[in-house]
Amino acid sequence: MYRIIERQDLTPTIKLMKVVAPAIARKAQAGQFIILRLHGHAERIPLTVADYDRDGGTITIVFQIVGKSTEELATLKEGDSILNFAGPLGEPSEIDNYGTVVCIGGGVGVAPIFPITRALRQAGNRIISIIGARSADLLFYESEMRSVSDRLQVVTDDGSKGQQGLVTDALGEILKSGAQVDLVFAIGPVPMMRAVAELTKKHAIRTIVSLNPVMVDGTGMCGGCRVSVGGTSKFACVDGPDFDAHQVDFEELQMRQRTYRKEEQAANEHYHQCACGRG
């Protein structure tokens, strides 16, 4: 059992939890993820390591409520426990001194981009960060991101905070201004990562994205997480989750993510019918 020692509501639908998992905390690196299982009937869900505390022995996860499992996870309070918590899984992000790096986080993707941005800064890169959300109340981690960036740009769809528009609008302006950009790192919804990739491809700037296909085991055993990268099939849980954005078949990824849409709805309805949940 893995105890939750801290819980924060970052936005109405995005929650942060610090979980006691000392062995994972000793090893976790930026870009890796964990797989958790709430209880004996639960599914295995992957969540990125949003932070780790090696001395304190904790892993921080930040998740958005999108369906049954994340909603149920959000019912847990400080002091509650999670049955299974395995990691750190996946390959760490490749951290190096590239020069100037633009780090982009969209929606809940701001959480996983944070440790990567921090590591890239520590490696000596100049960091321009762009974080985006639909509106001001859905934005989080602004000060965290500011603390590890040379420049931070905030964008919201409705203009309620920062510049109005999409993260790609902000990125477009940076690129148009002729600034030297050596690498772009983008994490967020698939359409966002895809739009970033299309834009940077035109400018021939190397771009890394972190992919989130449906996973089961997270150890390379089922192949359910396969994605097409550069025309070959990769298992995102062991070969990724970071990949060269210009090689990724986003269309296929989006289709595969929709595989269980009907079942996910059914699971949600079932959960709300037994409103008692499963304490």
Partner: protein, 475 residues
């Protein structure tokens, strides 16, 4: 009993029409009376040809002699001298290729049903026998790490714990058991039996840690530096192969591992009571002809598919599945599309499987394996409507350990190189066995490798200890 008993005693099974609607065990096992009758058929051959056919050399005539006397607990103990997991092996071993193949009764009649008797005495012991306890062995004060909790790792853990070692088993998934829990379905091997066997290993004193992916949370070198004096790698062959044909990324295409893991480990057949979903359309094709293919096909039927067909490149004789499983699958209504192989999977505009295009084969000249090589018949392509395609064309070793342990030598397809007699790898103190060394094989061979490695690890660690004792002893 002097009179000739020609046929073996049939084992009661669930009716095929009823069983395709449930996940309960298909074969129901002998009653006491049936076991006594079947045991009486054994001729007690002095040369024990059956035992020679057993990969771990169970003294079969001796255990059957005890069955004849009605001493079922004694019979179970006799088997356990060389096989720790008889309730499992009695259910899943390919006996027709092993012990039963050598039974002299089989020359004229049917061989003694050794597997069914093994299963009977193991089940008898589990329900009527004394509860397992701690090993009571004198502690050696030495720690051994076992990576992977499949049959191979569990065997090493049990044997070394009995010899007084402090054993920790590290398992990547949330439930121990390896293929026994995530691959082989409930209707063939009830999970309660696997859990009971694992509980026995724990009662002996071994510690089983789940959620522990070695290579990620700790490397083999870190285990060795952490006080483990030997490491046994029994990580299996868990990496699913695909065919690399067009359409394999469509929704509705599964590896058998994913399909079976969702069904068995995650209990998707109880969705939405269990959270993990699975999709089985009306028409399901399973590519392959082994146990994994049969298990997938039979799960698909139970999950509600209307038509399930096996698509296999060679002929029926060459199907590597256990005979009983193939027979059960056919009884349940699985169709065989033999001498056939897929060339591409066709999808609709939403990215879902819609049809499967296949090509026919004929048998040509024998290949290296002595089996007649299937040859494509030009122009024989045909397309069948399909909702789900399951790839059961084999698994390779997972590279996680070899990638993170640089001085472990690997061979063809990424298997670990290990001495077949001892399991010793190219790295001192590290042993390996089971599917990670042989490639996908059988439960009993994985256990056999575990037995040999446990003995070798004991020799290795005791030699060290006796060297230590003799060097500190005053002369």
């Amino acid at each position: 009993m002097a009179e000739e008993v020609t046929g073996r005693n049939a084992m009661p099974v669930q009716d095929p029409k009823a069983r395709v609607k449930n996940f309960h065990e298909v074969a129901l096992g002998y009653t006491k009376e049936q076991a006594l009758l079947e045991g009486a058929r054994c001729r007690q051959c002095k040369k024990k040809p059956c035992s020679n056919g057993c990969p771990v050399g169970v003294d079969i005539p001796a255990f059957i002699a005890l069955v004849k006397e009605g001493d079922f607990l004694g019979a179970a103990q006799k088997i356990k001298e060389s096989n720790n997991l008889p309730a499992i092996c009695g259910r899943v071993c390919p006996q027709e290729e092993q012990c039963e193949k050598h039974c002299i009764l089989g020359k004229k009649h049917e061989p003694v049903a050794i597997g069914r008797l093994e299963r009977f005495v193991a089940d008898y012991e589990r329900t009527a026998g004394p509860a397992a306890g701690s090993s009571g062995a004198v502690p050696t004060g030495k720690k051994v790490a076992v990576v992977g909790s499949g049959p191979s790792g569990l065997t090493v853990a049990a044997d070394l714990t009995k010899l007084g070692y402090q054993v920790t088993v590290f398992e990547a998934l949330h439930d121990p058991g390896g293929v026994l829990v995530y691959g082989i379905p409930e209707f063939r091997l009830p999970k309660e039996i696997v859990r009971a066997e694992i509980a026995n290993v724990s009662k002996l004193g071994a510690e089983v840690l789940v959620d522990s992916v070695i290579g990620k949370i700790q490397s083999v070198d870190e285990l060795l530096a952490d006080g483990f004096e030997a490491v046994y790698v029994g990580t299996g062959a868990g990496l699913p192969n695909f065919m690399n044909i067009p359409g394999e990324s469509l929704s509705g295409v599964y590896s058998a591992n994913e399909f079976l893991t969702r069904t068995n480990l995650m209990k998707a057949y109880l969705f939405p009571d269990y959270d993990t979903p699975i999709k089985v359309g009306k028409r399901v094709a399973v590519i392959g002809g082994g146990n994994v293919a049969m298990d997938s096909a039979r799960c698909a039927l139970r999950l509600g598919a209307a038509e399930v067909c096996i698509v296999y490149r060679r002929s029926g004789q060459e199907m590597p599945a256990r005979r009983e499983e193939a027979e059960h699958a056919i009884e349940e209504g699985v169709h065989l599309n033999l001498l056939t192989s897929p060339v591409r999977i066709i999808g609709n505009s939403d990215g879902w499987v819609e049809a499967l295009e296949c090509i026919r084969f004929e048998l040509g000249e024998p290949d290296e394996s002595g089996r007649r090589r299937p040859v494509k018949i030009a122009g024989s392509e045909f397309t069948i409507p399909m909702d789900t395609v399951i790839m059961a064309i084999g698994n390779s070793p997972n590279p996680l350990i070899s990638k993170t342990t640089p001085d472990l030598q690997t061979g063809r397809h990424g298997v670990l190189v290990a001495d077949p007699a001892t399991g010793a790898t190219t790295k001192q103190g590290v042993y390996a066995g089971g599917d990670i060394v042989t490639g996908a094989a059988t439960v009993i061979s994985a256990m056999g490798a575990g037995k040999r490695a446990a003995a070798a690890i004991d020799r290795y660690l005791m030699r060290e200890r006796s060297a230590l004792i003799s060097s500190t002893k005053p002369s």
